[in-house]
Symmetry: C4
């Protein structure tokens, strides 16, 4: 039935005219299935902490045409000043992280890829040049995803097992591409605080979702665009307060704390303390497993016995 | 006179050219009439507290065309993670609330409707699919309102007695529809802190307004839209500070404290404490009646002897 | 020379092509002349405090076409709930204020005009229906200004002596109209913290400017527009902190503290404490003259011996 | 190769279609080269502090067409009230600063230029009339830059040695113009916290970059535009907190703390304490060199032995 109905003309501006099958189909397109929250985390830990950094660097400006020397220099800051500060904090605390890099960013900064990989951090797919997936056709998105995986493997020596869409722009084709690529997990969606299995049109896919949220992303708080209205809306102390509260309830619920940070945002002098403090805050809970997104996904899949495990 | 004048051409962009009868007519169209603030609240309580939650879930994204997997997953979060946390807090404190649900949201989540109704909370009308009323003609808005009421009654077993327009978008037809449906109350307008009787073109309608305000709504503080400029503007501590001050003066004035929260906003780990703290803060005053919007409206109407009572 | 030059074609989008006489003419059009800050305030007070309230009420929505029941109800809130709370605070502290009212707002709320005037507060001109002056031609702006003054005089019994342009939208014709009307002062510009004499094309006008600033206006912090990106950007505690600092330096400098508040913003339960606290804070300095804008303007003009005095 | 490739048609909206040489060329156009952070600052100081003020005054409004009396008066405030307060604070603390002035601003305020120069502060180039460079062709930008330098030299008696582009709008021609003018430094880009040498298409230029950041600029936090969505997003206490953290890590890293402030923003009564406190905070570290941008650039160039030194 839905397949018949979906061939009818549907006005996206008038959803109140849609038949029930239409809106049910839209909702079911990509959806959270069963929770993959384990009874306990690795070695019985009460909380898992998955830190991630999107090393976009110059690709933010390239995505927009590459014409602004100022924005380009902000991108270079991420690689030159931000990422080293971040990696120092991670090293001092001895905790792993997942670094999601557009292929072009990795090709511009092979030394960063080597340092990241050498330190045992995970490197995940994050588009070709930070393009928005939703403006691409299926074939282009697929081609860029495959080339991105190849580039990261070539530079890091390891085939990535997870994907984070750039700007969390998960297109109608993204899940099919992830399945075709045989990836373990995605980390772009927001239907839960805990890992879950992705459903495609109601069908279990075995793909693990490590959910993200703008709440636990530094960009909405810190992004600044002179020509647009984006401004830094709250100070770094506000972001730390929010992340601490997220950690507190993650621990209370025996769950996962996941966070997405950017070298060109949190890597600044007035913000790096947020990363330091949030690691301290989590460690102080005493019973915590710091892991990469891949390790979390693999553990959850294994505990739950999903097909992709 | 006004009816004659209103047939004259009136330029909405040049209100300084309008005759006095025109702007008086506009102002009088839908208006606060007599205050329904009672001398004392039920059983002599000094303050009434009316908590409400708009369970929009996936309808926010469906209203916008249903094409974003990310926004859709945020909607699912509201149902999957946010609402359970909220209902747990309400249960722990033993306080009732009013849940306003678009019909499509209710049909997507019948288990939520059952849990909400089973816990004794009120379920109110909140559009069909979160459509903006002001883009609809009278007949369409009427049809959707009636179908929404039917759907909620079918799923919850109780006919709703109150309406909250989606996005508080009260159209030129909304009040006529509310009157035709024989509803007890509306909760979309902002002319007072206390309940009042709605006037239509100067005529008392017997319909109770339980006024809302963006100040006491979590969405303006927490909404985030990557493509638009909406960002989270203040931290959760700021919202709690604001709501505490609203409670303090409501108690001081012997009035009503009403608040509008959303599962996909306040339901998050870093924000749920706001609900908990605001209930504690109100309870600590000692002499407080927690009630649904319907109970408040019925009590006010009864004390005032309005026709709808 | 400038008059010749100004008849040349000038591209407003390419100011770098303008002859020097052109940009000097633009700068000189309306300008702060000599400071009217007195050696000491009335009776030797060290600081003057001039509180003002723009009682726009329903005219905000009428200015935009008068089609939104929600925005209209927010306007009614200003008259019904906000202004009474404000007047109570002023009465409790025994301090005067200046109320700027669009004529239409005054005609909609004659009882407010009577209460305000009866309490000894000043009523000043504030447009006809909150129109933007910069979209009007000279004749229309002049006509509306004159009609507004007439309406306020008719309702309050006193001819206004000062003007505040709606939205501080001071057009190329405003100063000429103020001079033609023989007004004592304007309160729409921002070239100083202290009163000053307005210059028109370099010529002293005798018109006193009581300067305002968005910093000392509650609207930028509290305005909320669902369809636009305006949101409440900082909590009430932030605004109080800012205003306290303004008071502190005004006192230190022996100057004027002027503030612009709105019944539909600061009049809310969670914000009215700001007015209360700021009056307390100023009073605690010990040596303060609370005055209307007209009293401040008259005192400054008198001390300085300007022509309008 | 790149020169050939760059003559191919390149779609700025589809960067994922670009050949590698294209995006590498874009990235390399203007870029941070070797760090010029010295082993120690002058006389062995551990931290350098470079304060700067962009004295834009009326040119902000002139740049936008010069038609708003309100915006123009805000510009005059910068010259009349803001800058004197700032210069008083600098004098009290005995610290130097760099003042960047559009030529038109300097011509409108020759007395400010004299006071600034007389106090030993540096005056740097800051466009002709605050124009956006990116809308100009090479010849126009060059002509305006040269005329701006001439005007500042004529008014201050000293030829400027550094440039800050207005709104940090560094065009594709800016670096070539800086080199042609033989300037010592630019201060418009953001690739590091420490001074660095600018590369043009991979070639070392000898031009020192004193990097800026929106984080250390008061405008993003304080700008207000009634018609646009710019609002003051955080209070002055938030900005002070951010700047203190920047100072703390600059000292810890033995680096440079650079800040960009505006007379019409930080010069207000409720904000001037930020400047005072940040100077105190830096001084309290004990081992600090306060210097102009030119002094910092010259010292760095000298220590590093760059060609421009």
């Amino acid at each position: 039935m839905p397949s018949n109905l979906s061939s009818e003309p549907v006005d996206p501006k008038k959803p109140w005219t849609w038949a029930e099958a239409i809106w049910r189909e839209r909702v079911a397109s990509v959806r959270a299935g069963r929770s993959l929250k384990p009874a306990a985390w690795k070695d019985g830990a009460r909380m898992a902490v998955a830190l991630s950094f999107d090393s976009d660097h110059e690709t933010i400006d390239l995505r927009n045409g590459g014409a602004s020397a100022g924005r380009m220099s902000q991108g270079q800051y991420g690689a030159r000043s931000g990422m080293p500060r971040i990696l120092d904090v991670l090293e001092r605390h001895g905790v792993p992280a997942s670094i999601f890099m557009p292929a072009v960013s990795a090709m511009l900064h092979p030394e960063e890829v080597r340092r990241v990989a050498g330190a045992g951090h995970e490197i995940g797919i994050h588009s070709w040049i930070h393009e928005f997936n939703s403006v691409l056709d299926h074939e282009t998105e697929r081609d860029l995803s495959l080339r991105a995986a190849d580039a990261l493997e070539r530079l890091s020596g390891t085939r990535p097992v997870g994907m984070r869409t750039a700007s969390w722009d998960f297109s109608p084709y993204t899940l099919a591409i992830i399945r075709e690529m045989g990836l373990l997990y995605d980390s772009s969606l927001m239907a839960d605080d805990e890992p879950y299995e992705l459903l495609e049109k109601g069908e279990a896919t075995g793909v693990v979702e490590i959910p993200v949220e703008w709440i636990r992303d530094d960009a909405p708080y810190f992004n600044m665009d002179r020509m647009a209205s984006a401004r830094p809306y709250g100070g770094p102390a506000m972001l730390l307060d929010i992340l601490r509260r997220e950690v507190d309830l993650a621990f209370e619920e025996g769950g996962l704390f996941q966070v997405t940070l950017h070298p060109h945002h949190v890597g600044h002098r007035s913000r790096i303390f947020i990363l330091d403090e949030i690691i301290r805050h989590a460690k102080a809970k005493g019973d915590v497993w710091f892991a990469t997104h891949a390790e979390v996904a693999r553990f959850c899949a294994s505990e739950a016995g999903t097909t992709a495990c």
